[in-house]
């Protein structure tokens, strides 16, 4: 064969646009996929992630719902029981709590309760995390509350390319998925291989897999969602100081791909976990415990965690102090290297 495969159609897209395109693909592929949420129709969502979709797919598939989060998730469950694949948008992270009951007691458990007879493939998209100078309740990171609930999958993409693929995988997944969209990265642009979606969809494991996004030898940095970019910047800065940091993008918070992570830690001997959520009882606590147990003889230093404080998310003028930034990550890196 001499014919070469057509070059992958790369597009340079912002994350919000990449998710939009992923949603569009999923809706084109499967007529049972429908979007529901507040202001997602004519407005395209407050972040415009669903921009133009109602115009193209109609109001029955891109549904402007009443302003009622429990109602959104609860009716999505019923739609899923009826054979649909609803993708709900919760307008902001801090407003997911009215739906907390439906998500944790109903959505997460219906498959289990019915002993597999009922599937509820609902995706809940949430613009999440801080760093955009927002008012109260618009910058939170509640992932641990959901990861603690069996039956749910919790994932967060860190870049446009992953966002494009992962949203389609989440929709194709027969399990309910909490899809956390790092809102501070919505406008970051990168190349997206828009033709690659079909094959990755088949790979069931794809959505679970962590990825080493920057190889290194001295310290492993584990992060997900908005913190991956911070970790990558820290790794670049550390390189200038002669330290080689490996950055692992977890991508999935429940389940966590411990195989990829522990392999990395066995090589580097040191781990720093970075997330925006409060450190106390956060995902980093689970990771630190597991890695300490599984990599005890490989660890050169205790696992360090960098994240938010045990205080309500602060006012916008202080959020730069609350969020783990380059310096705090490097400070933790120095700490583990000092051992």
């Amino acid at each position: 064969m001499t014919a070469t495969a057509p070059a992958p159609a790369n597009q340079r897209l912002a994350m919000a646009k990449a998710i939009n395109l992923g949603l569009r693909r999923a809706m084109e592929r499967d007529a049972k996929v429908l979007l529901m949420g507040e202001d997602i129709g004519a407005l395209g969502g407050v972040f415009r992630v669903t921009d133009g979709l109602q115009k193209d797919f109609g109001g029955d598939r891109v549904v402007d719902t009443p302003l009622a989060e429990s109602g959104i998730v609860g009716t999505a469950i019923g739609l899923a029981v009826a054979g649909y694949r609803p993708v709900c948008e919760i307008q902001f992270d801090g407003f997911i709590f009215p739906a907390f009951n439906q998500i944790t007691t109903q959505l997460a458990k219906m498959h289990y309760r019915s002993r597999g007879r009922v599937q509820v493939p609902v995706v809940i998209r949430v613009p999440y995390g801080g760093g955009i100078g927002a008012v109260e309740h618009h910058s939170e990171s509640p992932e641990a509350l959901f990861a603690h609930t069996a039956g749910l999958r919790v994932v967060s993409p860190a870049n446009p390319s992953d966002a494009f693929t992962m949203i389609q995988q989440a929709i194709a997944c027969p399990d309910p998925v909490l899809f956390l969209e790092p809102k501070s990265r919505y406008w970051d642009k990168a190349d997206v291989e828009v033709s690659a979606a079909e094959q990755v969809l088949d790979a069931d494991a794809g959505l679970n897999q962590a990825r080493i996004v920057r190889p290194g030898t001295d310290v492993t940095l584990a992060a997900y969602g908005p913190s991956v970019a911070t970790a990558l910047r820290a790794a670049s800065a550390a390189e200038a100081e002669g330290h080689s940091l490996e950055v692992v993008d977890l991508r999935s918070i429940s389940p966590i791909d411990f195989d990829t992570l522990t392999e990395s830690v066995r090589r580097t001997g040191r781990l720093v976990v970075v997330h925006e959520a409060p450190v106390f009882f956060g995902a980093g606590a689970e990771i630190a415990a597991r890695v300490s147990q599984e990599c005890f003889y490989h660890l050169e230093a205790p696992v360090a965690r960098v994240g938010g404080f045990h205080a309500p998310y602060p006012v916008a003028k202080l959020e730069h102090d609350y969020l783990p930034d380059l310096d705090r990550v490097l400070h933790a890196v120095d700490g583990v290297l000092a051992h």
Binding site: L34, D60, T65, P66, A68, S70, G71, V73, G74, T75, A76, I77, G78, L79, A80, V81, A82, G83, Y84, P86, P98, N101, Q102, T105, Q106, K109, M110, H111, Y112, R113, S114, R115, G116, R117, V118, Q119, P121, A150, G151, R153, C173, P174, D175, D204, N208, S254, P255, I256, D257, F258, D259
Partner: protein, 382 residues
């Protein structure tokens, strides 16, 4: 009428002008312009069928209650007194309608063809469900009060999208029907469900059994207005029906389903009934209500009043005797069935947590299996 000490008992039929009734507590038919035609299709055989339904359900229920007393069930929510509200409504449904029950819907389960024995599994602690929802169009019980009213509404929105309303084909048009209590109406979810149903014209019937009590709290602690008025506030056509009148329950459900099937949207039904037993077997109703109140409602027993009507309209004693024997035989098997429900294997804990393979679950399952096998090896080693 007795003095109402708790404020919990409206004197049904006296001040309730809007209460739909087709059969009085004395067993006499009442004509109702709009609703009597809805029961034209119920001939004597059908009435006897409804009576049989109620008697068998009550028999099963009393067996289950006593099974709990004997420690064979962890808990049981008796449906004593609510047979007409459940059977009358349930028998009005088309096979393709989909039911979201609460946790006391034994009579509805029966009308959907669920083998009632399967309901025991949940209360014996062997299963979180016990039957196949799709096989009967009868979903699993819902234990978080009111949560399922949203599921029903969402399901109804699915029916709409499938184009299964307003086709005029009686075998195709379908609806979702959700059963819940008076206490549930105070829940946010129920109010959100009514909102979603109303703005979407969803083919869903909200069937509220006002049995006067949410555990120990009377309906007056949940609402300042009759519950059906709340439905109207959402723009959902609402009716109040005598919930101990099986014919009226049948008729109002039939009307609501006709509305839903034809594309007319949701209906709210308040079936005014009474929970004659305890809330569940862990409850002690003597702490919050009087014998006198219970006596008032005993005289409105849904089964007795249909028996009176049947006798007046020609059902012979042989029908009643034969049914008594059938109920006896039905009841007798329940205990044996219940005791024979096997303890589930440990592995069940890890099954169906996710529809896909999950590393977290797999790892814990493996660990637990090895841990268990460790004991076996130790034992073998003596």
């Amino acid at each position: 009428m007795t003095t109402d000490t708790t404020g919990a008992i409206p004197p049904v039929g006296e001040t309730d002008d809007d209460l739909i009734q087709l059969l009085t507590p004395e067993g006499e038919r009442v004509h109702h312009e709009a609703y009597t035609p809805r029961i034209d299709d119920l001939d004597r055989a059908a009435l006897e069928g409804l009576y049989r339904d109620m008697v068998l359900v009550r028999r099963f229920d009393s067996e289950a209650t006593s099974l709990q007393r004997h420690g064979e069930l962890g808990l049981w929510p008796p449906s004593l007194g609510q047979e007409a509200a459940q059977v009358g409504s349930g028998r009005a449904l088309a096979p393709q309608d989909y039911v979201f029950p609460s946790y006391r819907e034994l009579g509805v389960a029966w009308t959907r063809g669920v083998d009632l024995h399967q309901v025991l599994h949940q209360f014996r602690g062997e299963d979180h469900g016990g039957w196949d929802p799709a096989a009967h169009n009868f979903h699993l019980y819902a234990l978080v009060i009111g949560s399922h009213t949203l599921h029903a509404t969402g399901y109804a929105m699915g029916i709409q999208r499938d184009g299964d309303v307003g086709t005029g084909d009686p075998d195709r048009d379908r609806a979702a029907v959700v059963y819940f209590g008076d206490g549930a109406t105070a829940q946010g979810d129920v109010n959100e469900a009514l909102t979603f149903a109303a703005v979407n014209d969803a083919p869903v019937v909200f069937y509220c059994q006002n049995n006067h009590w949410a555990i120990s709290e009377p309906t007056t602690r949940q609402s300042r207005v009759p519950l059906s008025h709340r439905g109207q506030g959402f723009g959902v056509p609402s009716v109040r029906v005598d919930g101990n009148d099986v014919l009226a329950c049948y008729a109002v459900t039939a009307e609501a389903l006709e509305r839903a099937h034809s594309g007319g949207g949701p209906t709210f039904i308040e079936a005014v009934t009474y929970r004659m037993g305890a809330h569940t077997t862990s409850d002690d109703p003597t702490r919050y209500r009087t014998r006198a109140d219970e006596e008032v409602w005993r005289r409105r027993d849904p089964i007795e009043r249909l028996a009176t009507l049947l006798r007046a309209e020609g059902s012979g004693e042989e029908f009643f005797t034969a049914l008594e024997a059938e109920a006896e035989a039905f009841g007798e098997g329940v205990r044996d069935y219940c005791r024979a429900i096997p303890v589930p294997p440990d592995s069940r804990m890890f099954e169906n947590v996710y529809a896909t393979e999950n590393a977290q679950v797999s790892a814990e399952r493996e660990w637990f299996t090895e841990y268990q096998e460790g004991f076996d090896t130790e034992e073998a080693a003596g």
